[in-house]
């Protein structure tokens, strides 16, 4: 775990992630400017740090309604505005990026932030960026696998020799600068299926498991499959951290939390994915056995602890700003996380 700068003795880490979506607030019907959105994200990271939150990450999505395509640049501003919170992408679309450039960016970010940077590398759920950046969608799988492998190799080796299909070969190449401690935590983003989790296990890399909704039990299958695959490939699963990431929203009561957050998820999903979020599935989030962490602080604490019991994961990452949630509500969420949720989670998951 220490390779990944995680100390399980201190309890499960709690993080925030944003996709950097730039969606209208469905209640006010208005959209803030991209400038305001980006500045609010930087402010959000500062507030998160003040509340004791461990981790903050920013995603990239190259399509309408998103503002953080250049997520490394946004993270750089966050690095400068904060002092101790861990910062990461969530995720970097490695398929359509040059791993050398990504590594240069994030190693630099690590130096700016004094050793707080991480990379979560994914392969894009929406594929507009393939056309935008000149890639063929038919290479979807292979682009990801090849470039992710190269990214790991650059992280592990000071001098890289490499030959592949989608990039010019590297001969005795030095990728500089090197991060503060010589390497970065690099996670593999997994969409929730066991088939995808197994690939992360084979590679022996930490898994970042995203989920929109559904039963804890089905994600537990992915977690178990990941650890089994890692073991089969000769890695020790106890050295490999797992993080889960999904919708999160809290308010004084569960009913209030649902009422405040649902329109954002539903309308946001319609605009970015073409389908709203079914009310029934959202309502089911009240059940302890489902993964959406929406509710009163007490309800959310119980749910996160139940998930921790099932998954044995090291980090939970909350997405609470999707779909134009106004900043005062985000501030309120962070306040409740800092005062009620974090202390309870740390207390119950720390290993003395």
């Amino acid at each position: 775990m220490e390779n990944y700068r995680i100390d399980p003795a201190k309890g499960m880490e709690f993080g925030l992630y944003t996709l950097g979506d730039h969606l209208p607030n469905p209640i006010a019907g208005e959209r803030i400017s991209a400038e305001q959105r980006i500045h609010e994200l930087i402010k959000l990271a500062q507030l998160a740090e003040q509340a004791g939150i461990d981790f903050f990450s920013v995603g990239e999505s190259h399509q309408e309604y998103f503002a953080t395509q250049a997520h490394a640049v946004v993270l750089s501003a966050i690095a400068q505005a904060t002092e101790k919170i861990k910062i990461s992408s969530s995720s970097t679309i490695i398929s359509t990026s040059d791993p050398v450039r990504v590594y240069e960016n994030f190693a630099t970010l690590d130096l700016i932030s004094k050793g707080r940077a991480e990379i979560v590398a994914g392969r894009a759920s929406r594929v507009g960026l393939f056309d935008l950046l000149g890639y063929d969608l038919r290479d979807y799988e292979e682009l990801y696998e090849e470039k992710f492998e190269l990214l790991l190799k650059i992280n592990e080796e000071e001098v890289v020799n490499w030959d592949g299909q989608f990039r010019a070969p590297l001969k005795d190449a030095q990728v500089l600068p090197r991060p503060q401690n010589g390497s970065l935590p690099i996670w593999r983003a997994v969409g929730g299926t066991a088939a995808s989790a197994i690939k992360a296990g084979y590679a022996g890399v930490p898994m970042y498991l995203a989920h929109l909704g559904g039963p804890v039990a089905s994600f537990k299958q992915a977690v178990d499959a990941y650890r089994d695959a890692a073991r089969q490939s000769g890695f020790d699963p106890s050295t490999l951290p797992i993080s889960t990431a999904g919708f999160f929203y809290t308010a004084e009561t569960t009913q209030q939390a649902q009422k405040e957050y649902y329109p954002h998820i539903n309308e946001g999903m319609k605009l970015t994915n073409g389908q709203g979020f079914p009310k029934q599935a959202f309502a089911q989030s009240e059940d302890l056995r489902t993964v959406i962490n929406v509710g009163s602080p007490q309800q959310v604490i119980e749910k996160i602890l139940y998930q921790h019991e099932q998954f044995g994961h090291q980090r939970f990452i909350a997405q609470m700003d999707f779909g134009g949630v106004p900043f005062d509500k985000l501030r309120k969420n962070i306040e409740l996380i800092g005062t009620e949720i974090l202390p309870a989670i740390k207390k119950h998951t720390a290993k003395e």
Partner: protein, 188 residues
């Protein structure tokens, strides 16, 4: 209520003839509904490559979006090689796996003979079920002999189309109301 009438083939004229009659029937009997006729023969649709339907362009995006916006879809299809046409299957492939959730679908078939009467049961309905559609169970099967020079000449068929339209609108209303009642009960 927003109904899409889909003529699912780019070969021949019988399915289109039947869909024209269906659309006219809807417009006449249910003037408050909004009806859009999509004839795949008039459009350039690309083959599905697995991307999100919002990421397609041109006619492909138009058709996918129009179907996703519909409350009900009346699917008109010929039978080709003992199955539904590839054009129609491709349309399903363009949509999300639960893309027909909360939509009512009904089916109207044109075919050379009764030989393939069960194709709808065996091939089309399983796809519609998988994609979470609410299916009008009765479908209309029209044989070649029921047409003459781009008109349906069999009154029995015309009556059955009228009933299919009635069932489609009725079931759509029922599901819309049912969903509304259920969603209002959630309190958020």
């Amino acid at each position: 209520m927003n109904i899409v009438a889909l003529s699912g083939s780019n070969v021949g004229s019988k399915t289109r003839t039947a869909m024209d009659y269906t659309v006219n029937t809807i417009a006449e009997k249910y003037p408050e509904t909004e009806v859009t006729l999509i004839d795949l023969a008039d459009l350039e649709i690309q083959f599905s490559d697995g991307r999100n339907f919002l990421d397609y362009e041109g006619d492909t995006k138009y058709v996918a979006q129009t179907i996703m916006d519909a409350d009900a879809i009346i699917i008109g299809t010929p039978i080709f090689q003992a199955s539904i046409p590839a054009t129609l299957k491709n349309l399903f492939d363009l949509l999300p796996q639960d893309g027909l959730r909360d939509k009512v679908t009904s089916v109207l078939v044109t075919a050379g003979s009764l030989t393939h009467f069960l194709i709808v049961e065996q091939q089309l309905k399983p796809i519609l079920s998988y994609m979470k559609a609410q299916i009008v169970q009765d479908y209309v099967f029209i044989e070649e002999k029921d047409f003459h020079r781009k008109e349906i000449t069999n009154d029995n068929v015309l009556l059955r189309v009228d009933r299919l339209v009635e069932d489609t609108v009725g079931l759509t209303e029922t599901y819309m109301n049912m969903r509304k009642t259920k969603e209002e009960a959630y309190g958020f």
